[in-house]
Amino acid sequence: MAICSTAFEVLGKAQAKALGYADLPISIVPHPFGRHNRTEIRELANKCVADIVALSNGQMGGNSAEKIHANVRASSVQLPDDMEELNRVYRERGWTDGLPIMPPIADKVQAMVDYVGRAPGEIVSCIAPGFGAATIELIAANALMAGCNKEHLPVLIAAVEAVAARELNLQSIQVTTNPAAVLLIANGPMVQKLGMNCGINCLGQGNWANAVLGRALRLILQNIGGAAPGLMDRSTHGQPGKYSFVCPENELQSPWEPYHVERGFRAEQSTVTVVGAEGTLNMNAHSKKADELLRIFCETLAHPTSNDYRMGGGNPWVILGPEHAAVLHGVGLTKADVKQRLWEDSKMRASRLSGIDMQRMQWERQPELGEVAPDAMIPICKSPDDIGILVSGGPGTHSVFVPSFGITKSVTREVVFPE
């Protein structure tokens, strides 16, 4: 049995069904549950007990679970060859991100599948929280809808492999009330091959590959993963990065080894890295002094509403503009040095968290930090190496802080293009 607050009843039912228990009994309590006092909780406990008693007498729920016939081949639909009409149908069925789509015509999907030379029904992974099977064919269909061409498909296949890795924690990223999105970082020769933008406005609009790859990944997470807004996606506000969120590394402008090389790949390999990200924060700093830059970066990282500080299992990123990277490299700092300084100097006094969030932090980070006193200085994540460093962007005195979801580790996979 599950106990859900009213605001999460829809998610509870959908999640139970996705996990194969369509008739899982659910006891409902008023939302927001966390605000009730002890007397009210006792009353709600009596209500839940009544449901448990009913369940124990066979009067609630049951085992007539709807049989889900998972088919690895995609379903098809016949629609008029009219862009407005088919866009209307796709939009009304909740199959789009709200923007017009390109039609995933069956023949074009097949042509895209043929390009990668894999079976259309081959399952790359099952995507939380709906656990739909991401087949090559379905990935291609969503890619076409986003405006991709066939050369983008291998990137998305690698991304779909990556998002299923347990350490990313996609289940929580997809259903949380937080504004969590999946940032896709690109490295290696494919950045040039696909004409991706790693320079001016690299996180913004205007580049085809950046735009459609991020959009396609979002459509995949929504349509195959089942995270439809207001249903299983419970984000209070969401964020613009949930339309498309891509950042290639500007490897030519970086004074250090590229990120994928840091992760053990060869420079000539292409990779995607998926990040459980909570948005972007501009760090505009005109200083040319490395110590001063690092100090103000650290003051930016430390904020009391951060999931990273509260949960401690995150992987926050700093996307350094090339000018800032040059300042840091100019005094002999390696990437590891920068991570160490960021981790040490961004420690935050525990009492900056709200009282209840400090209690939660004390529970959640107890295995890592032990007992945490209010005046203790807590790190943003478990170790310096959990801070990701990327060099991207164009000229200007800017870097970008990307806070993480709080319990997530970035995952990198190689992109394999057909011979």
């Binding site: 009730h36 448990i52 066979g58 949380t176």
Partner: protein, 96 residues
Amino acid sequence: MSQNILLIDPTTPSHIMARSARELNDGLKGKVIGFIDNAKPNFSYLAADIADILQKEHGIRSAKIHRKMAASVPAGDRAIADLAAECDLVVTGAGD
């Protein structure tokens, strides 16, 4: 008048096949009830109160409460195995 074209449905249902939960239709007396506390504010109180009422008024044998390390992580494998082995019914919390 436009012709029809064949398009792909970009969605798909869960690939996890339907499963059956353990039947429970002979009351609570003597039963062991498990709880997975989702670590959200107040759920620990709710679980404790439910367990208390079930023991005092409905004769359950015992309650086992496992608190997750955080709401955003699954319950640990050991806790799941323990609850599955020991409990007749497990109650979990979802949401705020």
